[in-house]
């Protein structure tokens, strides 16, 4: 079986109408960096494909204290924006230039681990996913949108149209551990967003990528630093808690055992770096 129809809708309503008509038989493609390898290798055999390049979903706009990112905004455009340091850092460590030119922010929410570095950063920023269909729209926190390995909370007639990101207000860091420095799948990626008051952590979001069925929060690590100062014993406890919070897997990149060890080592490094940076700021 080969592709019999390739649709290129010129607007979001046109795209939603196509999804409404063809539902689960329509393969939706944004950048194509996930779908095309599967199609080229003959694993995925879609009959109907819809490209979103012309659907007008590629804008990035600041609205108040939030960033509205169109689902097909490329990772290169994320690298070029100046509103979110964390998202820029994550984009810089994701894929190669050619992948970033094609890959999209919306598509990254669907990329199976060890991919999904952008989704990890978005999770640390408490992003929300806007989902539309011909029936209406709904907004889902990213943490609830991703339901399992390669599965999301999306009905057959629904389309992810944008991602709403509260802008980072406190110190942030993104750290990716791979086998190579650049263009590498993650052993683990770590995104942290803190709120500090006179050196005490008042709120923490620690997101871990490539160590679970989808990017995960590390709730016990967050609890370990919330209400405390970023000092060595607290950081050590949080790093150990993050390793316990992770749910890693074996693949060709790394073993589950190694991934869990790297979570502890690199959460410690990330928090130590944040502590040094924020202490400098206080002084």
């Amino acid at each position: 079986m080969t592709v019999t129809s390739y649709f290129l809708p010129a607007s979001m309503p046109d795209a939603l109408a196509l999804l409404d008509a063809h539902g689960p038989d329509l393969l939706v493609m944004a950048g194509g960096t996930v779908a095309m390898p599967l199609i080229n290798e003959g694993i995925s055999l879609p009959r109907l494909v819809m490209g979103l390049r012309h659907a007008g979903l590629d804008g990035i706009e600041r609205v108040g204290d939030e960033l509205h990112i169109g689902a097909t905004a490329t990772l290169t455009s994320l690298l070029e924006q100046r509103e979110s340091i964390l998202l820029r850092s994550a984009a810089a460590r994701t894929g190669s230039w050619s992948i970033r030119n094609m890959g999209t922010v919306g598509g990254n929410l669907f990329t199976p681990p060890p991919g999904g570095d952008i989704a990890t950063a978005l999770l640390a920023l408490d992003a929300r996913v806007v989902v539309r269909s011909a029936r209406g729209s709904r907004t889902v926190p990213l943490g609830a949108f991703q339901t399992g390995f390669m599965t999301v909370d999306l009905r057959p007639d629904e389309l992810v149209t944008s991602i709403v990101v509260p802008l980072d207000t406190g110190p942030v860091t993104f750290l990716k551990v791979g086998r190579k420095h650049a263009n590498t799948p993650a052993v683990v990626s770590i995104a942290i967003h803190l709120a500090l008051d006179a050196g005490t952590v008042t709120a923490a979001r620690i997101a871990l990528g490539a160590v679970g069925p989808h990017p995960l929060r590390a709730p016990r690590a967050e609890a370990a630093i919330t209400g405390a100062r970023l000092e060595a014993p607290t950081i050590d406890a949080a790093a150990a808690a993050a390793a316990a919070d992770s749910n890693p897997f074996d693949d060709a990149v790394a073993s589950a055992w190694y991934r869990r060890r790297m979570v502890e080592v690199h959460v410690r490094r990330a928090l130590t770096e944040l502590a040094a940076r924020t202490t400098g700021r206080d002084e």
Binding site: P24, S44, P46, P112, V130, S137, R138, M150, D153
Partner: protein
């Protein structure tokens, strides 16, 4: 493909067992399941529509309950057939009392044929375990709902997660 897992249900063993053997309940909890019908005393057929990243399609499913020892253990033999290939295999599950709760452990063994077989087997195993885990979580939510007082019970749903807000953006 060898897969396994476990799940804890806050419900009595007999009701967990009955739910697993009930096609209407199965239809509500299997991700993407569109239809299940009973075709024999312990045989069911269904259709599952899966929209995965980079791959879409419908799969015809047939399942047969075998070696049933209610409410302790049962096996399911069956196949899933679609454009991407077929999966044929068997899953066995065992239920144990754990205080007021029920502990379910399961183990599956399947052969993948067709284009799907080109996937890294670990990749296919993670996907299968994830789908089954989502089904069991949704089943647990339904069973807890059935045993919860009506006044505090949330709206029944077969979906693993809930949208937080609905309406125009």
């Amino acid at each position: 493909m060898n897969v396994s897992g476990s799940h804890r249900f806050a419900a009595p063993r007999a009701s967990v067992f009955a739910a697993i053997c009930d096609p209407a309940t199965l239809m509500a909890v299997i991700p993407g399941c569109e239809a299940v019908q009973q075709t024999g005393p312990a045989a069911y057929e269904g259709r599952i529509a899966l929209r995965l990243p980079g791959a879409v399609g419908s799969y015809r499913t047939s399942v047969r309950l075998v070696d049933v020892a209610a409410p302790h253990r049962a096996g399911m033999e069956g196949d899933v057939v679609g454009a991407m290939g077929s999966i044929r295999g068997r899953a066995d599950f065992v239920l144990r009392d754990a205080g007021d709760a029920t502990e379910l452990t399961w183990r599956g063994d399947a052969v993948i044929q067709g284009p799907l077989a080109r996937l890294d087997s670990r990749f296919a195993e993670r996907l299968a375990e994830s789908l089954i885990d989502q089904g069991l979580r949704a089943l647990a939510a339904r069973l807890e709902l059935a045993t919860a007082p009506l006044a505090t019970a949330p709206l029944a749903t077969g979906r693993a997660t809930q949208a937080i807000t609905e309406g125009p953006e």
